[in-house]
Amino acid sequence: MQYHFDFAPIWANRDLILDGLLTTMALSALGLILALIVGVIVGTAGAAQSRALRIAAATYVEVMRNIPLLVHMYAWYVGLAFLRLPPFWCATAALTLYSGAYVAETIRAGLGAVPRGQNLAALATGLTRLQALRLVIYPQALRIVTPSLASLASQLIKDSSLASVITVAELTYEASAIEGQTFRTFEVYITISALYLALVTLVTFGLMLIPGARAQGVQGFGDA
């Protein structure tokens, strides 16, 4: 006996798969944008001179990062059930807070990688602290961390599959639904693997197109 691969049942359910893919994209895009915002704020706090800010940022990062994402999902959906948040927003919140911690660490490292002299020089020209950060430090730091951020983005897209356990009808959820009706386990998971692969590859390549993302030599001046 041989197992005969048959993708016809998958094709018959293409509407579900497409819906799932769109939900995965929406969830990932939203999670990515919000995680970037959280990460920039927390990461900047983590690189601040104020000890209190640094401790607060480190606490956030350790707490969020050291709890499994699956538990984050359940915490919002089951633990905070009385809030009656729709599953999609529970998943968005979980992804944002969890991935935000990783983004924060990356941003903090990026800020640390910009030579100190850059900040001092910017302040010497009469820029305020905030202006120096925004106009001089961030552009250099973001360039340094773009490859790491691209890798976090790909991680986040794959992590979004965990939203399936709290009934968000994304790609993995729909795969499981189709599997149950057709028993075509191999075919359905091969299909969604290919879709994840395509999506993650496109996003990672897209992020690397950001001007200067591939140029790693920015710290080659200033600090001796």
Partner: protein, 265 residues
């Protein structure tokens, strides 16, 4: 791009690798079981009363006792292998288990992928709601949230009989039950016997309305494995004739069997 192509090639190679593993001859599954000295049975352990862990953490349940009897019929001990929805077919097809007895409803669509034994249990779908709920049957579900286990015939049936209900599907019965208990869902649908299991410990809920589906459960074997399927069918029929089936049924469902197992002369 080269990296992408390499990854794709790996994926395809992986997919093809399943082929040879799956290519074990069905002829002589019984011979293979006897040579190995045990029957490998895929069972679920999260679906009382069909398959669950008892107080001593031992696997027990209707499905599990049935496979024990089938193994005895073949003349070997049984080794239980825990399966989930995502693993049962790959484990069966790759030969890691000989059969799957996991409260599976036999459908024509599923039958295209694997083969099933004769019906060894007939279930019906019902509805569970909070005691104070005004929902009296599936006809009252318009606009209501109904929790169900994902990928099941139950999910398909409820969508068909209550097209205006909002169906939220969960990985397993426990999660769907939790949604009802937490008030995230207005109703919880499932096999009557399973709902009764949940009702036992939760008096603030009730089961309402008539049964609205017929769920014939079958034991799954590899497509074309008529050798083992025959043996399972004969074992089930012998269990019915000897009265052992009725005893098991009473043990787990506390009533007499409602639907007899067909017996071939």
């Amino acid at each position: 791009m080269a990296a992408l192509l390499r990854t794709l090639a790996t994926l395809i190679a992986l997919a093809l690798a399943i082929g040879p593993a799956a290519a074990q001859a069905p002829q002589g599954t019984i011979a293979k079981i006897k040579e190995r000295g045990k029957l490998l049975a895929g069972v679920k352990l999260d679906t009382p009363p069909f398959g669950f862990l008892d107080e001593k953490n031992e696997p027990t349940g209707f499905d599990i006792d049935i496979v024990r009897k089938i193994a005895a019929h073949i003349g070997v001990p049984v080794e239980l292998v825990k399966v989930t929805s995502a693993t049962r077919i790959p484990l069966l097809v790759s030969g890691n288990v000989d059969l799957v007895a996991a409260s599976m409803t036999h459908t024509r669509e599923r039958d295209r992928t694997i083969d099933f034994s004769i019906t060894y249990y007939t279930g019906g779908q019902s509805l569970m709601v909070p005691k104070a709920s005004t929902i009296a049957s599936f006809k009252d579900l318009d606009g209501k949230q109904v929790a169900v286990q994902q990928g099941t015939t139950l999910e398909k049936t409820i969508a068909a009989v209550a097209p205006n209900a909002k169906i939220i599907a969960f990985r397993d019965y426990n999660a769907a039950w939790l949604a009802l208990a937490q008030g995230r869902a207005d109703a919880f649908t499932g096999s009557l016997n399973v709902l009764q299991g949940f009702l036992k410990d939760n008096p603030n809920f009730k089961i309402v309305g008539e049964l609205f589906s017929v769920e014939p459960f079958g034991i799954g074997v590899r497509q074309g494995d008529s050798d083992l399927r025959d043996e399972i069918n004969f074992a089930l029929q012998d269990l019915w004739t000897s009265g052992e089936y009725a005893a098991l049924y009473r043990k787990y469902f506390h009533v007499e069997p409602t639907t007899p197992i067909e017996v071939w002369p």
